[in-house]
Amino acid sequence: MSETKRENWGSKLGLILAMAGNAVGLGNFWRFPYQAAKNGGGAFMVPYFIALIFIGIPLMFVEWNLGKTGGKYGHGTLGPMVYLQARDKLKPKSALGVGALAGGLAFAVVILVNSYYNQIIGWTLGYTWLSLTGGYKDAAVSTVDVFLNYIGNPVNMIFWVIALAALGFAVMRGIQKGIEAWARVMMPLIYVFGVILIVKALTLGSPVNPDWSPIKGLEFVWTPDFKSLNFGSALAATGQIFFTLSLGMGIISNYASYLKADDDIVLSGFTTIALNEFAEVILGGTIAIPIAFAFLGPDGIGQSVGLSFISLPNVFRNMAGGQFFGGFWFLLLFFAGFTSAIAMYNYLVALLEEDMGIKRSTGALIVFALYIIVGLPVGIEPTLIRGSTAYLDAVDFWVGNVFLVVLGLIEIVVTGWILGKKGLDQINKGSYWKLPKWYYTLFIQVAAPVLIIGFLVGYVVYLAGGGAVLGNSLKNIMSASPWTMAGQIVVLAVLVLGVIQTNLSIRKKYPEEIAKNTVLVVKE
């Protein structure tokens, strides 16, 4: 096995800001508000917190541990990390299969999520520009048309390319000088911009209708309306926890692989979650909905993607200082998306570095080219068919919803059930706070895997019964639209490619022990 000197994080604060940046993304500010609004406000928050406590927090510890253990062996990608955890009990040959599947899923997620995630980051950058230059200020053009014109104009893809180039530049500089340095600047700014926008949101008064105020908007979000609570909203809440904490993607483990062997996991993982929830529940929940409610009333807050890109520009164009606050809002979205996309970008650069011996700077250029190629269908489709996002919807349905949860299940089953109690020792080694044995048994070995299995079964049954999650029903996902079919073929092809690549990678790293089917390489 080749020995390479791995870079480490420069400081604990830098690590936490980078990890929080990894978790805090578009999901916190763009996805969470409309998820909460569409799924019954306060009623959505109940399953949301249940999923956070019983799935999100345990899985976060598991992913940190997979990464720290894998990093000790020089691995920054998920396949070999899962292989290491599974090989004692399953024996190397069977562990190879589990590792290849996990690595393949992570490979598909970091490539395909970015086919649309980076596009949306490009939109936020473009809309920052539009806000500051008064690009949607003309009341004669509806903000729906502004948005459709924006995504329908190929020239605006320049913002996507600029965002990708900035990501590539940051990753090229490495862990400390690149990722950590950018997180140290962007993360504090996200919180500062968020607080400024909250103050503005809560002091808007009732500019349109005396019954519409920001406080009424907050009341909507936080009143537990249990009549609106159904299985679909519980599924949406659980999916949101995966998405917001960047779980089931391999990228938390990738960042954790740059920890030192005796670094803390429990306190750091806990703080990452707390900072993410601060950004999501407090900042994300107190900006978009109260603002939209004050100007547009209860009917204006239920839109999906449109809440950020259609409803809020409609508000900013009518608000005193709207150009300025609109600029803040979209720049906040850009920073949040950027600090997560950088983690996915780094995952692929680490894969090229570790599996193919390609140096970081060249790897960053290769990933740049790859992201341009996989992002093209998402960018081109609405320029050919006005407003159409069938390809994006198909990719998001499988990768953004299903793959994350399946990968999360594999990780927690491998740690909790296959590695067993040894996992508790690994997590606690070097940690400032120690997980008690009862917590490990109850949460990591029982609650989280059982709930995730329940989620997956429920998801299939719910969809088969005609239900829709995030507006996606089985019928429209299985439609014969050429863009939908193309999206699904690409998803399958990338997954298969990922499994094959990971299989070869693990075989190359552990040839002897797989041939003998006995564990030979052990680092304490």
């Binding site: 604990k12 928050m45 979000v221 703080t271 707390a274 929830e277």
Partner: protein, 32 residues
């Protein structure tokens, strides 16, 4: 704002702010 919404919101906010402060303070203490 009705009282159940206010209690739910403030309860969640206090827990999250508390967890963030405790987490960050403990980490900074250990990094000295």
């Amino acid at each position: 704002m009705n009282s159940s919404a206010l209690i739910f919101m403030l309860g969640a906010w206090i827990l999250i702010i508390g967890a963030s402060v405790v987490g960050l303070r403990s980490l900074l203490k250990h990094s000295k």
